[in-house]
């Protein structure tokens, strides 16, 4: 498995319009220009419906812009085939969702193994690495637990371990603490900061919560599909 590589992210005049030309047309992003350096920890803040998740989906190649360009290390990702985008996601991006999105029929370890299985990592190697990752996120001994047997905080820890499975250079977290209490929120943020620092990965974190956003080193604010503030901490 390759070592993590955090790409330079660039969004050039990116727009995203849903159902264009229809009565219910939604212009989620309206010309976003943005550059995120490798290893940065940036928060994306803004009111509901301002385009935060849409922007995250575009950066993570889950969606494609209506116009404009998304670049990784200067390479445009437009026009790539689904298979190629899936490969880039598999090798380069770790997703952490608000609702954890663990597969209910799989155990914690099997959930963590998923990205490695898709990458073709041999069974023994991926089992060992999944156990190591679960241990790293504080879930040693819970490998065989199913999601419904875990608390919300534990589920999100499994999700973090899964996101780290293929050593991605880019971590995208969409409201990762949105459904957690204060103690678990603190635990997850500390974990994310640690894994980012240990691996030199870029962390882009969407949040509503100002106290969560304060943990980032750069604060991006989106309003009505545009970046209205971009503040770097000294």
């Amino acid at each position: 498995m390759k070592e993590p590589h955090a790409p330079t992210l660039e969004l050039l005049g990116v727009t995203r319009t849903f159902d264009p030309g229809e009565a219910d047309e939604v212009r989620a992003l309206r010309g976003v220009d943005l550059t995120v350096a490798p290893g940065e920890f940036a928060s994306l803040e803004g009111p509901s419906g301002c385009g935060k998740t849409t922007l995250l989906n575009l950066v993570g190649l889950l969606d494609a812009p209506t116009s404009g360009e998304v670049r990784w290390d200067g390479r445009s990702l437009g026009g790539r085939k689904d298979r190629e985008r899936a490969r880039l996601r598999l090798e380069g991006v770790g997703f952490i969702f608000q609702r954890f999105y663990l597969l209910p029929a799989l155990t914690a370890r099997e959930n963590v193994e998923l990205p490695m299985r898709a990458l073709g990592v041999p069974r023994g190697d991926r089992q060992a690495r999944a156990s190591d990752l679960l241990s790293e996120v504080g879930l040693s001994g819970r490998e065989r637990a199913f999601p419904h047997q875990l608390s919300g905080g534990e589920e999100q820890r499994v999700a973090v371990a899964r996101a780290l499975a293929n050593r991605p250079g880019l971590l995208l977290a969409d409201e990762p603490t949105g459904e957690l209490d204060r103690v678990n929120t603190e635990g997850i943020l500390t974990l994310l900061e640690k894994v980012r620092a240990d691996r030199g990965a870029t962390l882009l974190l969407v949040t509503h919560n100002p106290s969560v956003a304060r943990r980032a080193h750069r604060h991006l604010t989106l309003e009505d599909g545009r970046v209205t503030a971009d503040v770097r901490e000294a």
Binding site: T53, D63, R83, A86, R89, Y101, A105, L114, P115
Partner: protein
Amino acid sequence: MIRFGRGHRLRHARLQVILAVAAIATAVALPVVLVSVGGGVSAHELAMLQNAGYQIVVSAAGLHGIAHAHPLTEQILSLPSVAAASPVLSIAIDSFPAGPGATPVLAEGVIPVGFGPTLGPEESGLFPLPLPLGDPTDAVHFDNGSYRGPATYDVLVSSPFAEATRVTTGGHLLLGLTNEVSGAISYNVTGTFGVPPTVLGPVGAFAVLVPLSDLQVMTGFANAPHVPVPDAADTVEVAVVPSATSNPEVISSLRDRVQSLVPYYGVSSLSQEATQLQSATAVLTGFYLALSSVGLSVGLVFLTLVLLRRVESERRSIGIRRAIGEPGGSIAAAVVVDGVVIASLGAVVGIAAGYLVVEGLATWAHSTVQEAARLAEFVPLTLTELAGGVVGLSLVAGALAARSALRIDLAEALR
């Protein structure tokens, strides 16, 4: 692959899979029963044809349609390569084994000397040969189309009939055309004969064998002196000499010559009949499969719906897998494999169910159905083809569901 966790939704999914397996199993069981029983009966009939001691048969339309059976037999016997010819007349008559109560039996009138050589290897072991039925040539009371009598009134009875009615060799048996004992004639029971397995069941096993002219006399015509009776028979079975039995050209040539003797009767060789039977079997099998395809179609439509429903209910899981980077091909393959696994399970359960149904019929059904079920043949190749066809069609169902899985909008699925 199919994998169930816990919770109501997953239990619901399990029920759907079980129902899909049951639908396909039901659809598979039907052709298994039809084809195995139909094929078994046909194979049995074919084996009987192939094991018959005669190779050519003359038959005529209508009840006892062959006239002049004795002289026709003589004519046929004079042809080259003919070893024996046996006219057979079959009539349902009444017997009175114990007092005035009538017991129906199937009476067969034969010329004793001709009957033996037209029996197959299996059948000939069932009869006492030469047949102890008086004049071997049946000429004592038949000459040039006139009955001269007196008849010997000898009869052979089938062993099931003898056992059921306690008729013994050396005893007497009253036989008549009607159920009035007063019109019956007393016959000497000169022996018994065995009955080969038959799909007709025990009723068909109640039979007696008498000289052909005796049975013709019993029709009543011969009771009037000097009145010619129709020298009737149903068939004339012709056996060829041993050197010609496996020579289709000789048999075909002989068939043509017999046909030229009786252009107004049907003359066919057993190989022709076997071919016709095989063709009829193939048509029937096709018909069974066509009939079964309706059930199979319903089963596969159900499978498609179940797979589509699973894709819909797994929408988020599929979205998560794809978001992680799992290739679309891998997800599509998993959906197709699900379909194949369900269809394969259905096929296996269906074949097993079909087998059990046939076994059940062979054990608990009655008469003809039971006999037919006992003859059922489970041909591994046919069953494999059937299962393969089902699995092949399940690929179509899987492909449709996989297409649906790949069309899921990721951003929407993860919302």
